[in-house]
Amino acid sequence: MFPLQLAHLPSFHHMAIATINITVIALVALVHKYSKATDQRGRIFIAMGLFMLTWVDFAYLARLVGQSSLAISEVFLRLAWVATPLFFYYTYLVSVTVIFQAVRKSTLNTTLLVIAVALSAASAFSNLIIEGIKFTGTNIDIQYGVGFYPFLAIISLFMVLTLVPVFRTKMTSKSWAFLAGVLIFYVANIIFNISLPAFMHVTHLYYLGDYSTVFLLALTAYAIIEHELFKVRVIATQALTIVLWIILFVRLFGTTSLTEFVVDLFVFATSVAFGVLFLKSVREERVQKQKLEELAVRLQDMDKQKDEFISVAAHELRAPMTAIKGYLSMIAEGDAGAIPEEAVQYLGDAIIGNDRLIRLVNNMLNVARIEEGRLVYQIGNVRLSEVVRRVFDEFRLEAQDKGLAMKIEIPDPINDLVRADEDRVHEVVANFVSNGIKYTDKGSVVIKLVQPTPQSIRCEIVDTGPGISKEDGEKLFNKFYRSESAIGKAVGSGLGLYISKLLIEEFKGKIGFTSTPGKGSNFWFELPLVSQEAQSQ
């Protein structure tokens, strides 16, 4: 617990080595835990980590004992250099598998492995790479053999081969992370392990090249288990927490007094406790997120099923309704011969009822379609006055039965040509009139056509009903909103106004209402007129 003083190495090295070892072991554990059993990359990563530790640790040990025993130091150094080519080889393998998920047995891979092993063996057992070492007070000075430059060249080749797969495929966050790690390591390596020693004979800085491997390892770990830690925020918090732990732990070895040690120990212990809780909550969040995603998928499925069901149901209902509509109209038009006056009336009512049924089914089916913009529209030039007159005829009897006066006010002349689907416009007007009659108990329902500007036309349905309160008014055009009638029960499907709004907006118009509670309401919509030039067709 008290400082270990060895070989006059600055304490930075001890801290760095300890941190690196702990980090690498942690990373290996993480990757082992989170990578799938079948994922070869987990095992490749472990190999990478072990060789890295071997390299860095033995280089460190070599420096450490260099002063006391040059022979042992040389052994350690050679062992470090044995690990180096193999580390580069496994880094290359990771590059291949980060992209391709599995190592394909290829002659290239085997050849590279053989080369790496050969370099390792040469470093260990011959003087080709390392002839000997000298200790110069604080550093190791390596005497390189004739094979040193070829060694560097081959290592450089490994580096290039490692970068190639990364660039050949589409860059994802995984590949970016790995690339970043590789580049940091390579740059440090090229500077401190290759260029400086080889060309400037500066050998005392190559530990920086060694230590930069930790970045490579960390980013590789991320690339491999990214699917578990996909959010940068999550990884960052986890990583920072772990780094904090490591630093606080390693600090313990640098304390100089008992009190300081106790305080540091306490700080470390508390940080571990907090850290664990924090990491737990972060993981919880991840789990919740996943659950949400699953629910969203299920919801989408159910939505699709509902849509399909409605489609099928409405389509099936339409056939008999079409037949009824067809035959009623044919009889009413006299196709089966002359019919008595009363029968004409009854037929008229039957047709009204059936049309209402068809509208209802259409509403239920169409609402989804309209929302998605998938409804079939038959767009043409429509004379609003004609539509309005037809609706008037349709509902005249109904109003009469309820004791309401129904009037129609169309100025003459009026420019009322709009571009829309006639049936849909009819639907909107009918919806307004139907509501007006439904919610008015006494007085009148008046249909008006007004020209607010030369480019637009406005249709108003004014009733003398109970009016609409402000709260109701805001929700009126919402889907499935049904306000209470005078009887106190919600009437209707709640889709009429919602669909009307969607339709008018589809035809580039505006829709709305004004109302005075107790006096009545005015439901209106406006549509742009067909321009004069277009009209002369």
Binding site: A319, T322, A323, K325, G326, S329, M330, I358, V376
Partner: protein, 163 residues
């Protein structure tokens, strides 16, 4: 309406001069044997798989003076059309064997039927189907449930040039 098994008769059509008060009966699969009528009015073709609706439209069209052939599924429709070369096609979309759109696509690949006027008469309200039909050169995409038979006849007359 033609039925290949009753080929001993000259081609049977459903058309009646004003003096004929009998109403032709229709049943599935479409068979019809009526006394041959003098050719009058354009020859329409209706593809519709619901016999209830076939009966209704047949009654209306013949009342209006059109000659009419019908079929209850896509394959029969194709055979009838290629055999009889009608002046105007009215096609349902949802039909067994071959859908109305598939049928139209097939017909458009044959030189004689490349330009034959076609109207879709269906209860399918998907925009995609309508667009496809228009792309295949259909003059109209009509929704059955929204129109009375009279209105359908008006559309036919409109596209036949008011004959």
């Amino acid at each position: 309406m033609t039925d290949e098994t009753t080929n001993t008769n000259p081609p049977s059509v459903a058309g009646r001069p004003a003096s004929d008060t009998s109403v032709p009966q229709v049943s599935q699969p479409v068979t019809q044997s009526v006394a041959p009528q003098p050719a009058q009015g354009p020859l329409l073709f209706l593809a519709e798989d619901d016999p209830l609706l076939t009966k209704m439209y047949s009654a209306k069209f013949t009342k209006e003076g059109f000659r009419l052939l019908t079929a209850g599924d896509g394959q029969e429709a194709y055979d009838t059309i290629t055999k009889n070369k009608p002046d105007f096609l009215i096609l349902d979309v949802m039909m067994p064997k071959l859908s109305g759109l598939e049928l139209l696509e097939k017909l458009r690949q044959e030189s004689h039927f490349k330009d034959i006027p076609v109207m879709m008469l269906t209860n399918l309200t998907q925009k995609e189907e309508a667009q496809k039909a228009l792309d295949l050169g259909a003059k109209e995409y009509l929704i059955k449930a929204n129109l009375t038979p009279s209105q359908v006849v008006e559309k036919v007359k409109l596209h036949l040039g008011g004959k």
